[in-house]
Amino acid sequence: MWAFINKLRSPKWFYAISARLQPWFWALAAILIVTGTVWGLAFAPADYQQGNSFRIIYVHVPAAFLAQSIFVSMAVAGFVFMVWKIKVADMAATVMAPLGAAMTFVSLFSGAVWGVPTWGTWWMWDARLTSMLILLFLYLGVIALRGAFSSRDSGSRAASVLAMVGVINIPIIKYSVEWWYTLHQPATFTVTGRAAMPTEMWVPLLIMVLGFYSFFIALTLMRTRNEILRRESNKRWVRELAQET
Protein backbone atom coordinates (compact mmCIF):
# COMPACT_ATOMS: atom_id res chain seq x y z
CA MET A 1 0.00 0.00 0.00
CA TRP A 2 2.70 2.46 0.97
CA ALA A 3 4.74 1.46 -2.06
CA PHE A 4 1.73 2.31 -4.22
CA ILE A 5 1.22 5.67 -2.52
CA ASN A 6 4.89 6.47 -2.93
CA LYS A 7 4.60 5.69 -6.62
CA LEU A 8 1.62 8.02 -6.84
CA ARG A 9 3.78 10.78 -5.42
CA SER A 10 6.05 10.59 -8.41
CA PRO A 11 4.99 12.73 -11.37
CA LYS A 12 7.22 10.59 -13.58
CA TRP A 13 5.26 7.45 -12.71
CA PHE A 14 1.94 9.24 -13.23
CA TYR A 15 3.15 10.54 -16.59
CA ALA A 16 3.94 7.00 -17.74
CA ILE A 17 0.79 5.28 -16.47
CA SER A 18 -1.55 8.03 -17.71
CA ALA A 19 -0.08 7.72 -21.20
CA ARG A 20 -1.36 4.15 -21.31
CA LEU A 21 -4.79 4.89 -19.81
CA GLN A 22 -5.55 8.03 -21.72
CA PRO A 23 -6.41 6.65 -25.21
CA TRP A 24 -9.01 4.27 -23.75
CA PHE A 25 -10.88 7.05 -22.01
CA TRP A 26 -10.79 9.29 -25.09
CA ALA A 27 -12.15 6.45 -27.24
CA LEU A 28 -14.81 5.60 -24.68
CA ALA A 29 -15.84 9.25 -24.35
CA ALA A 30 -16.11 9.69 -28.13
CA ILE A 31 -18.12 6.50 -28.67
CA LEU A 32 -20.51 7.16 -25.77
CA ILE A 33 -21.08 10.84 -26.54
CA VAL A 34 -21.65 10.23 -30.27
CA THR A 35 -24.02 7.32 -29.53
CA GLY A 36 -25.87 9.26 -26.86
CA THR A 37 -26.17 12.32 -29.11
CA VAL A 38 -27.65 10.42 -32.05
CA TRP A 39 -29.92 8.38 -29.80
CA GLY A 40 -31.04 11.30 -27.66
CA LEU A 41 -31.62 13.74 -30.50
CA ALA A 42 -33.14 11.52 -33.16
CA PHE A 43 -34.36 8.24 -31.67
CA ALA A 44 -35.63 8.86 -28.17
CA PRO A 45 -39.39 9.55 -28.19
CA ALA A 46 -40.61 13.09 -27.57
CA ASP A 47 -41.98 13.82 -24.11
CA TYR A 48 -45.79 13.82 -23.98
CA GLN A 49 -45.84 17.10 -22.04
CA GLN A 50 -42.70 18.94 -23.10
CA GLY A 51 -42.42 17.70 -26.68
CA ASN A 52 -38.92 17.89 -28.14
CA SER A 53 -37.55 20.52 -25.75
CA PHE A 54 -37.07 17.68 -23.28
CA ARG A 55 -34.08 16.54 -25.40
CA ILE A 56 -32.10 19.25 -23.60
CA ILE A 57 -32.00 16.80 -20.67
CA TYR A 58 -29.30 14.81 -22.50
CA VAL A 59 -26.81 17.64 -22.14
CA HIS A 60 -28.22 19.35 -19.05
CA VAL A 61 -28.14 16.41 -16.64
CA PRO A 62 -24.67 15.01 -17.58
CA ALA A 63 -23.18 18.52 -17.34
CA ALA A 64 -24.79 19.09 -13.94
CA PHE A 65 -23.53 15.71 -12.68
CA LEU A 66 -20.00 16.53 -13.83
CA ALA A 67 -20.14 20.04 -12.37
CA GLN A 68 -20.78 18.57 -8.92
CA SER A 69 -18.54 15.49 -9.21
CA ILE A 70 -15.61 17.57 -10.40
CA PHE A 71 -15.93 19.88 -7.41
CA VAL A 72 -15.87 16.90 -5.05
CA SER A 73 -12.86 15.44 -6.92
CA MET A 74 -11.12 18.79 -6.67
CA ALA A 75 -11.76 18.94 -2.91
CA VAL A 76 -10.47 15.37 -2.46
CA ALA A 77 -7.37 16.20 -4.51
CA GLY A 78 -6.89 19.32 -2.39
CA PHE A 79 -7.14 17.24 0.77
CA VAL A 80 -4.62 14.69 -0.55
CA PHE A 81 -2.28 17.53 -1.45
CA MET A 82 -2.58 19.21 1.95
CA VAL A 83 -2.18 16.03 4.00
CA TRP A 84 0.36 13.98 2.04
CA LYS A 85 1.98 16.77 -0.03
CA ILE A 86 1.41 14.85 -3.24
CA LYS A 87 2.18 17.28 -6.05
CA VAL A 88 0.30 15.33 -8.72
CA ALA A 89 -2.91 15.77 -6.68
CA ASP A 90 -2.45 19.54 -6.78
CA MET A 91 -1.77 19.43 -10.52
CA ALA A 92 -4.97 17.42 -11.07
CA ALA A 93 -6.94 19.89 -8.94
CA THR A 94 -5.50 22.74 -11.01
CA VAL A 95 -6.69 21.31 -14.31
CA MET A 96 -10.07 20.17 -12.98
CA ALA A 97 -11.23 23.68 -12.05
CA PRO A 98 -11.71 25.12 -15.57
CA LEU A 99 -13.53 21.98 -16.75
CA GLY A 100 -15.80 22.10 -13.71
CA ALA A 101 -16.53 25.77 -14.30
CA ALA A 102 -17.32 25.04 -17.96
CA MET A 103 -19.69 22.22 -17.02
CA THR A 104 -21.42 24.40 -14.42
CA PHE A 105 -21.85 27.08 -17.06
CA VAL A 106 -23.23 24.51 -19.53
CA SER A 107 -25.76 23.19 -17.01
CA LEU A 108 -26.87 26.71 -16.07
CA PHE A 109 -27.10 27.78 -19.71
CA SER A 110 -28.98 24.70 -20.91
CA GLY A 111 -31.23 24.92 -17.86
CA ALA A 112 -32.06 28.57 -18.56
CA VAL A 113 -32.77 27.82 -22.21
CA TRP A 114 -34.90 24.85 -21.23
CA GLY A 115 -36.79 26.96 -18.70
CA VAL A 116 -38.17 29.31 -21.33
CA PRO A 117 -40.55 26.85 -23.05
CA THR A 118 -41.11 24.74 -19.91
CA TRP A 119 -41.47 27.17 -17.01
CA GLY A 120 -42.02 30.36 -19.00
CA THR A 121 -38.94 31.94 -17.42
CA TRP A 122 -35.21 31.52 -17.93
CA TRP A 123 -34.28 32.32 -14.35
CA MET A 124 -35.81 32.33 -10.90
CA TRP A 125 -34.12 32.46 -7.50
CA ASP A 126 -35.01 28.85 -6.92
CA ALA A 127 -32.79 26.94 -4.45
CA ARG A 128 -31.34 24.57 -7.08
CA LEU A 129 -30.60 27.34 -9.56
CA THR A 130 -29.10 29.61 -6.91
CA SER A 131 -26.87 26.90 -5.42
CA MET A 132 -25.61 26.03 -8.92
CA LEU A 133 -24.80 29.69 -9.51
CA ILE A 134 -22.87 29.67 -6.22
CA LEU A 135 -21.00 26.59 -7.49
CA LEU A 136 -19.95 28.55 -10.58
CA PHE A 137 -18.66 31.37 -8.36
CA LEU A 138 -16.82 28.85 -6.19
CA TYR A 139 -15.07 27.44 -9.25
CA LEU A 140 -14.12 30.93 -10.42
CA GLY A 141 -12.96 31.72 -6.88
CA VAL A 142 -10.74 28.64 -6.78
CA ILE A 143 -9.21 29.54 -10.16
CA ALA A 144 -8.66 33.18 -9.17
CA LEU A 145 -7.26 32.34 -5.74
CA ARG A 146 -4.72 29.94 -7.22
CA GLY A 147 -3.38 32.69 -9.44
CA ALA A 148 -3.44 35.40 -6.79
CA PHE A 149 -0.24 34.39 -4.98
CA SER A 150 3.32 35.00 -6.08
CA SER A 151 4.38 31.60 -4.75
CA ARG A 152 2.78 28.56 -6.33
CA ASP A 153 2.65 26.67 -3.06
CA SER A 154 0.64 29.38 -1.30
CA GLY A 155 -1.79 29.50 -4.23
CA SER A 156 -2.18 25.73 -4.16
CA ARG A 157 -2.88 25.71 -0.42
CA ALA A 158 -5.42 28.52 -0.64
CA ALA A 159 -7.20 26.87 -3.58
CA SER A 160 -7.25 23.52 -1.74
CA VAL A 161 -8.78 25.09 1.36
CA LEU A 162 -11.45 26.90 -0.65
CA ALA A 163 -12.32 23.67 -2.49
CA MET A 164 -12.56 21.74 0.80
CA VAL A 165 -14.75 24.42 2.39
CA GLY A 166 -16.83 24.96 -0.75
CA VAL A 167 -17.68 21.28 -1.02
CA ILE A 168 -20.38 21.93 1.61
CA ASN A 169 -22.37 23.43 -1.26
CA ILE A 170 -22.63 20.02 -2.99
CA PRO A 171 -25.11 18.40 -0.54
CA ILE A 172 -27.03 21.69 -0.60
CA ILE A 173 -27.33 21.41 -4.40
CA LYS A 174 -28.31 17.77 -4.15
CA TYR A 175 -31.05 18.18 -1.54
CA SER A 176 -32.19 21.65 -2.62
CA VAL A 177 -34.97 20.14 -4.74
CA GLU A 178 -36.31 18.29 -1.70
CA TRP A 179 -35.79 20.92 0.98
CA TRP A 180 -37.14 23.86 -1.00
CA TYR A 181 -39.32 22.49 -3.75
CA THR A 182 -40.18 25.64 -5.67
CA LEU A 183 -39.36 25.40 -9.36
CA HIS A 184 -36.83 22.72 -10.27
CA GLN A 185 -38.10 19.17 -10.54
CA PRO A 186 -36.66 16.46 -8.23
CA ALA A 187 -33.87 14.10 -9.30
CA THR A 188 -34.38 12.05 -12.44
CA PHE A 189 -32.06 9.31 -11.27
CA THR A 190 -32.12 7.87 -7.79
CA VAL A 191 -29.84 5.20 -6.40
CA THR A 192 -32.80 3.41 -4.91
CA GLY A 193 -35.96 2.90 -6.90
CA ARG A 194 -36.87 3.24 -10.53
CA ALA A 195 -35.93 6.12 -12.79
CA ALA A 196 -38.83 8.52 -13.28
CA MET A 197 -38.74 8.04 -17.08
CA PRO A 198 -39.46 5.30 -19.61
CA THR A 199 -36.52 3.06 -20.55
CA GLU A 200 -36.13 4.37 -24.11
CA MET A 201 -35.63 7.85 -22.65
CA TRP A 202 -33.21 7.11 -19.83
CA VAL A 203 -30.88 4.66 -21.59
CA PRO A 204 -29.49 7.41 -23.87
CA LEU A 205 -29.27 9.65 -20.80
CA LEU A 206 -27.21 7.03 -18.99
CA ILE A 207 -24.95 6.73 -22.06
CA MET A 208 -24.44 10.49 -22.12
CA VAL A 209 -23.67 10.60 -18.40
CA LEU A 210 -21.06 7.83 -18.78
CA GLY A 211 -19.65 9.59 -21.86
CA PHE A 212 -19.27 12.85 -19.95
CA TYR A 213 -17.51 11.06 -17.08
CA SER A 214 -15.11 9.39 -19.54
CA PHE A 215 -14.45 12.79 -21.06
CA PHE A 216 -13.71 14.21 -17.61
CA ILE A 217 -11.21 11.41 -16.88
CA ALA A 218 -9.55 11.65 -20.33
CA LEU A 219 -9.22 15.44 -20.20
CA THR A 220 -7.95 15.43 -16.62
CA LEU A 221 -5.29 12.82 -17.46
CA MET A 222 -4.17 14.75 -20.52
CA ARG A 223 -4.04 18.14 -18.83
CA THR A 224 -2.38 16.79 -15.69
CA ARG A 225 0.33 15.45 -17.99
CA ASN A 226 0.66 18.92 -19.48
CA GLU A 227 0.86 20.41 -16.01
CA ILE A 228 3.61 17.91 -15.11
CA LEU A 229 5.64 18.97 -18.16
CA ARG A 230 5.16 22.60 -17.20
CA ARG A 231 6.10 22.29 -13.53
CA GLU A 232 8.79 19.62 -13.87
CA SER A 233 10.43 21.07 -16.97
CA ASN A 234 13.82 21.25 -15.28
CA LYS A 235 13.81 17.63 -14.09
CA ARG A 236 16.22 15.34 -15.85
CA TRP A 237 13.57 12.85 -17.04
CA VAL A 238 11.56 15.63 -18.71
CA ARG A 239 14.69 16.91 -20.44
CA GLU A 240 15.51 13.42 -21.65
CA LEU A 241 11.94 13.11 -22.91
CA ALA A 242 12.37 16.30 -24.93
CA GLN A 243 15.62 14.99 -26.41
CA GLU A 244 14.14 11.67 -27.47
CA THR A 245 11.16 12.89 -29.47
Binding site: T37, A42, S53, V59, P98, V116, L219, R223, A242, Q243
Partner: protein, 80 residues
Amino acid sequence: MMAFNSIAEFIAMGGHAPYVWSSWGVTLFCIVALAWHARFERRQLMNSLKRRERRERAREQQNAVPTSFQSVVERGQHDT
Protein backbone atom coordinates in the same frame (compact mmCIF):
# COMPACT_ATOMS: atom_id res chain seq x y z
CA MET B 1 -37.28 3.76 -35.07
CA MET B 2 -36.63 7.44 -35.34
CA ALA B 3 -38.75 9.98 -33.56
CA PHE B 4 -38.97 12.13 -36.71
CA ASN B 5 -40.32 11.47 -40.20
CA SER B 6 -38.05 13.84 -42.12
CA ILE B 7 -34.88 15.89 -41.83
CA ALA B 8 -36.94 19.09 -41.84
CA GLU B 9 -39.02 17.80 -38.96
CA PHE B 10 -35.84 16.84 -37.10
CA ILE B 11 -34.38 20.32 -37.54
CA ALA B 12 -37.64 21.99 -36.49
CA MET B 13 -37.74 19.94 -33.23
CA GLY B 14 -41.52 20.42 -33.04
CA GLY B 15 -41.11 24.19 -32.74
CA HIS B 16 -38.44 23.92 -30.05
CA ALA B 17 -35.49 24.24 -32.44
CA PRO B 18 -33.93 27.38 -30.88
CA TYR B 19 -33.90 25.84 -27.39
CA VAL B 20 -32.70 22.37 -28.34
CA TRP B 21 -30.04 23.44 -30.82
CA SER B 22 -28.62 26.28 -28.72
CA SER B 23 -28.23 24.01 -25.66
CA TRP B 24 -26.64 21.21 -27.65
CA GLY B 25 -24.50 23.63 -29.64
CA VAL B 26 -23.05 25.34 -26.56
CA THR B 27 -22.44 22.02 -24.80
CA LEU B 28 -20.72 20.25 -27.68
CA PHE B 29 -18.75 23.40 -28.49
CA CYS B 30 -17.41 23.51 -24.91
CA ILE B 31 -16.41 19.83 -25.01
CA VAL B 32 -14.65 20.08 -28.37
CA ALA B 33 -12.97 23.36 -27.39
CA LEU B 34 -11.65 21.91 -24.11
CA ALA B 35 -10.28 18.80 -25.86
CA TRP B 36 -8.72 20.93 -28.60
CA HIS B 37 -7.18 23.28 -26.04
CA ALA B 38 -5.58 20.35 -24.16
CA ARG B 39 -4.03 19.09 -27.39
CA PHE B 40 -2.81 22.56 -28.35
CA GLU B 41 -1.36 23.04 -24.85
CA ARG B 42 0.54 19.73 -25.10
CA ARG B 43 2.00 20.61 -28.51
CA GLN B 44 3.14 24.01 -27.31
CA LEU B 45 4.77 22.57 -24.20
CA MET B 46 6.56 19.83 -26.13
CA ASN B 47 7.74 22.32 -28.73
CA SER B 48 9.12 24.74 -26.16
CA LEU B 49 10.87 21.88 -24.31
CA LYS B 50 12.44 20.67 -27.55
CA ARG B 51 13.46 24.19 -28.52
CA ARG B 52 15.19 24.63 -25.19
CA GLU B 53 17.08 21.34 -25.60
CA ARG B 54 18.22 22.35 -29.09
CA ARG B 55 19.28 25.77 -27.84
CA GLU B 56 21.28 24.27 -24.97
CA ARG B 57 22.97 21.77 -27.25
CA ALA B 58 23.89 24.59 -29.64
CA ARG B 59 25.30 26.61 -26.75
CA GLU B 60 27.37 23.65 -25.61
CA GLN B 61 28.83 23.38 -29.10
CA GLN B 62 29.48 27.12 -29.26
CA ASN B 63 31.25 26.95 -25.93
CA ALA B 64 33.30 24.10 -27.26
CA VAL B 65 34.50 26.14 -30.26
CA PRO B 66 36.33 29.01 -28.45
CA THR B 67 38.38 26.60 -26.30
CA SER B 68 39.65 24.71 -29.30
CA PHE B 69 40.00 27.99 -31.16
CA GLN B 70 42.02 29.37 -28.29
CA SER B 71 44.29 26.37 -28.28
CA VAL B 72 44.85 26.84 -32.01
CA VAL B 73 45.73 30.48 -31.37
CA GLU B 74 48.05 29.48 -28.59
CA ARG B 75 49.72 26.96 -30.81
CA GLY B 76 49.92 29.58 -33.56
CA GLN B 77 51.60 32.00 -31.21
CA HIS B 78 53.91 29.29 -30.22
CA ASP B 79 54.96 28.78 -33.82
CA THR B 80 55.88 32.42 -34.47
